[in-house]
Amino acid sequence: MKRGLVEKAAMAVLGIMAGMGVLVLVLILAEVFLRGGGALDAGFFLEESRDFGAAGGVRYQITGTLLLMVGAAALGLPLALAGALFQTEYLKSPGLKRGLRLLIYSLNGVPTILFGLLGYLFFGIYLGAGVSWLTGVLILAIMILPTIQVSVQEAIEALPENYREAGGALGLSRWQEIRSIVLPHSFFGIVTGTLLGLARAAGETAAILFTATAFSGARFPASFGDPVPTLQTHILVLAQEAVNPRAIEAAWGAGCVLLILVFSLIAASLFFRSRLSMEFDR
């Protein structure tokens, strides 16, 4: 049968192309662990970086990355929650709703370097926060706002209308409805969104490069006005300028740490999202 043969051949081509794409990606990412895995020992996590990255570890780079990402999520989450609730619960005009929705979804695609430039202009210069971790947190919070909000909003919108009606028919006010029906039901959506936001903030480099970080001399910040070192910018500087093989290995090691951090956050978000969809399959 000629038709069957053509079908089989086409299937094979499709399969090979798909497989190749995935395989190349897997192999190249595995390279990070191959090259950097050797650098990972207790000292790498606990010591501070010395000799232009050639000696010591990345202790303060890790704390810097964590500080920025947690600060950004702590600030971004309330804003995103408010944004989502405002749009789903309080805003009435359908036209405005659609407009705001498109704005939030489109913001997700805005290049992060622009958040860096404009955030620095506004927070760093106009508000006088300078090159500091505070500026970084503010910029990242706005950057991850759409990520969190989209996730929260989709969870809220997936809530079946009859739950709200049942609540409304019992005389619950809008605030009571939010507290006892909407928020508990979108809990996993909120968790998922926050984790994705954390992952995005953890990996971001361009937006904090010249607004919140310093390569050397910075440790754990003593005040809001201090810059911090981070894994991301550490890797960047070493990748661009390091010649000492030990420093290059340290860059791969820092890459490993960052990748593990980001992967854990995304994996956790996937886990919570599967819980979310199970809730509504019932």
Binding site: L25, G83, L102, L121, F122, L259
Partner: protein
């Protein structure tokens, strides 16, 4: 209790509205800044800012090479990766078991979150040397290298969005087509792909938007030369994209002078390009979901 239940409701409503408006207002403010701060460079350079080929700090600001570089690198990346990503999406949506599809989608989601700096490191350490040796070049940092790296970066995003678009086509159409004697692959070609066209376009546009804005990874491997290569289609030449230019020069130009205005002008051009592509993509996706 500080508030009676009723005042809590009012307080909460005001709080939510205020926070939401603050965030929205801040974002709108940001982009008003972007426009305001880039006005001086358009006054100084006029249309030459967009078309001019020379960028000498303190003398002239021509964004031509950067716009060219951005366009070439992103389009090339997309052209290279699209066949693979679409094949992956068709396989995942139409031929994998639900379990395997879930596994593949999770993997893609994981990969889509890999930070740009990791790709940058891979670009410097693996890809650029490979391009250099394979093509016998003096330097591996070229437009082609940047495009390859970008292609890898957006592969998971495009695959997973395209798979969503295909999967949104209701099963009854597949049953109908197969009931008429079409093979599974013919069904995909004749029924599923046409139905999913809007969603697929959305996936492509969103991937394009993502590639256009990537800064760090591109900056590390594109070569950083502010010139259109000669001949213009020489992809083995170093070049510059808008985000990589911003990433390189923002730190030194921060805050003052025409140089800073010129960089924000570049930012405005990038913003408009990405916004156009992303909004188009989002509208296509919504349309795909609605049908």
């Amino acid at each position: 209790m500080l508030f009676k239940p009723r005042s809590i409701a009012v307080f909460f409503r005001i709080l939510v509205t205020a926070l939401a408006l603050t965030a929205t207002g801040l974002i709108v403010l940001f982009f008003l800044f972007l426009v305001k701060e880039s006005v001086p460079v358009f006054q100084a350079e006029g249309a030459r800012f967009l078309t001019g080929g020379d960028w000498w700090v303190g003398e002239s600001y021509g964004a031509g090479p950067m716009i060219f570089g951005s366009a070439v690198v992103t389009l090339l990346a997309l052209a290279m990766v699209l066949p693979f990503a679409l094949a992956g999406a068709v396989v995942a949506s139409e031929f994998l078991s639900p379990r395997l599809r879930w596994a593949m989608k999770s993997l893609m989601e994981l990969f889509a979150g890999v930070p740009g700096i990791i790709y940058g490191l891979l670009g410097v350490g693996v890809l650029a040397p490979a391009v250099k040796d394979f093509f016998g070049l003096i330097d591996g940092n070229t437009l082609l290298t940047a495009a390859l790296l970008l292609g890898l970066m957006v592969f998971p995003t495009i695959l997973t969005l395209a798979d969503d678009a295909l999967h949104a086509v209701p099963g009854k159409y597949r049953d109908q087509a197969q009931g008429l004697g079409l093979s599974r692959l013919e069904t995909v070609r004749a029924v599923v792909l046409p139905q999913a066209r809007a969603g697929l376009l959305g996936a492509v546009f969103l991937g394009l938007g993502r590639a256009m804005g990537e800064t760090i990874a591109v900056m590390l491997v594109i070569g950083g030369r502010d010139q259109v290569p000669s001949p213009w289609y020489n992809l083995f030449a170093p070049g510059q994209s808008i985000p990589s230019k911003l990433g390189r020069e923002a730190a030194e130009a921060v805050g003052a002078g025409l140089h800073w205005n010129a960089l924000l002008g570049l930012g405005l051009v990038l913003f408009l390009m990405v916004l156009g592509v992303t909004v188009a993509g989002q509208l296509f996706l919504n349309k795909g979901r609605a049908t």
